[in-house]
């Protein structure tokens, strides 16, 4: 008997160690990135870094504005394109479709979410880039096809499975009683959906969109393949752009030889991380309150 209970206490100790390990890893990640980006933060003010729009590492000019702007715009385009159809589709699947359609959709979404981003990127190069070139030409914006809007379109497609499956979870968490009550009061199905179900799900939808935002904000390879990677502030949607993740990916092989360059790249990673953490924590807080994880 004492042996069994001491084994159990041992497992309690081990559990604590593993919990600590998770906390330590997160801290290490943040502190590590911060320490690495400190040299540039000491030399140049934050305001200068964020508002400067000239990126010439050899001359010691590190303006992050074009990258931050590109990343934000590309993410917003993606959400603008993806969110409305995703929410409509999720509502249809959860409120109107047959159980069978709903059930068969789930594995499809899972597979789609598992498709590697490089495949979406390849598809973007094959389809979206030529499309952008042609349409841009019609509209009088001659371009190479590798543009901000192309990045936004590829990203939009990538977040679709993610947002639909999260929104469906949110809709599933709406209590059945709420629907039944509305129907019993004589609402049509649509009125129930619109005034009761969607209202219940509003905050959850918001959280799903936030998580979609953070997913898109950090996406690297697919965006990098279609956005052109030109370190200049884009003037229109048909200009090439350069996102923060792409900046990191394109540079961290060669950054060691130029002073402050590696620090600047790590700062890019830190900015990315801080924004994503903030957005994620808000989203998780909302989902936690709705008892969805």
């Amino acid at each position: 008997m004492p042996r069994r209970s001491s084994l159990d206490s041992l497992s309690q100790v081990l559990a604590r160690i593993f919990l600590l390990l998770a906390v330590a890893t997160a801290l290490l990640l943040l502190v590590g990135l911060f320490l690495k980006s400190r040299p540039i933060l000491m030399r140049v003010s934050l305001w200068e870094l964020f508002s400067g729009d000239s990126w010439r590492p050899l001359r010691g000019e590190f303006g992050f504005f074009p990258f931050i702007l590109s990343t934000v715009v590309v993410t917003l385009i993606a959400l603008l394109l993806a969110v409305p159809p995703c929410l409509l589709a999720a509502v249809y699947l959860s409120e109107y479709s047959s159980r069978r359609l709903q059930q068969s959709f789930r594995p499809i979404l899972e597979v789609l979410a598992a498709i590697p981003s490089v495949i979406y990127g390849l598809w973007g190069v094959l389809i979206i880039v030529p499309l952008t070139r042609t349409v841009g030409g019609w509209l009088g914006h001659a371009n190479s096809g590798y543009t901000l809007i192309a990045g936004g379109m590829v990203l939009a497609i990538m977040v679709v499975p993610f947002i639909i499956s999260l929104s469906m979870e949110v809709l599933l968490a709406v209590p059945a009683e709420a629907r039944l009550t509305a129907l019993a009061l004589g609402c049509t199905r649509w009125e129930t959906t619109r005034h009761v179900v969607v209202r219940h799900a509003q905050r959850g939808f918001f959280a799903a969109v936030l998580l979609g935002f953070s997913r898109a904000f950090g996406e690297t390879i697919a965006v990098m393949m279609v956005i052109g990677n030109v370190a200049k502030t884009p003037r229109s949607l048909f200009d090439p752009a350069y996102t923060l993740p792409a900046l990191i990916a394109n540079n961290y092989g060669e950054m060691m030889s130029i002073p402050l360059y590696d620090s600047a790249i790590m700062l890019a990673a830190l900015i990315l991380m801080v924004i994503i953490i903030a957005v994620n924590l808000i989203a998780h807080r909302i989902l936690g309150k709705l008892e969805i994880r």
């Binding site: 594995p107 981003s117 190069v125």
Partner: protein, 281 residues
Amino acid sequence: MNRRNEEKLAIGLMRLSLYGVVLILAAIMAVIVVKGFSAMSWSMITQTPKGGFYLGKEGGVANAIVGSIYLAGGATFLSLLISVPLAFALQKEYSSGRLTYYSRLALDVLWGTPSIVYGAFGFIIMMMIGLRSSLLAGIITLALLVTPIMTRAMEEIIRMAPQELKETACALGLTRLESSSTVILRQTIGGLLTAVMLAFSRAIGDAASILFTAGFSDHMPGSLLDPVASLPLAVFFQISTPIVEVQQRAYASALILFIIVLLLSLLSRWIYLKFSQNVIK
């Protein structure tokens, strides 16, 4: 507009969205499959790159296929060693108040961290300990990426095990450790294995985190300390060249990767059914 017409309009819009989404996603698969098949050959799967491969000459991506499997397999194994205990430690049986709260928070943070940031972080660590781009560095970085994913999936599966089962085990005099390692483990093993598969398929498809930690090579992976090729990066490098024959290879490589991911998800379903025989509902 009366209420019936509004409903009709709304349903129309929703159907349109759903079919639109399905259509686009089907178009992606169709393009990848058609383009990939027309560029596929046996030598793509069975050979390593020969001289002039990146100019359109002989060879295949066998080294990248094997490299990807090593990378994802190693990362999944490493992450398994942390995720299983961590997932049990997060249950309320082992709750340690504040510490549990903070480690959940930490996991949320790590779960959302983009893979490029893990890549950069892995690179810092490599520099610190004097490791160069290698299979080992790639495995460690990928393990960092998939551990939060695997842990979260496992934690949820264990939490969803019926409360009565846990209570029954407790009433029979089992300690937490005993009930976790026998009753609960048996109940949830199918789900836990799908979490493992999920992590593996995430690891095999990720490119950003291994771009500089695993490097790339034209040979079959040798030792843990040598650079290693991987499929996502093979696709990425091949499509970036201006040579048409090499771009064709990107299509074939992408199709191989796509088929692997598809097979993994089928396998995961099969495993789930196979190992869910002891489940008490």
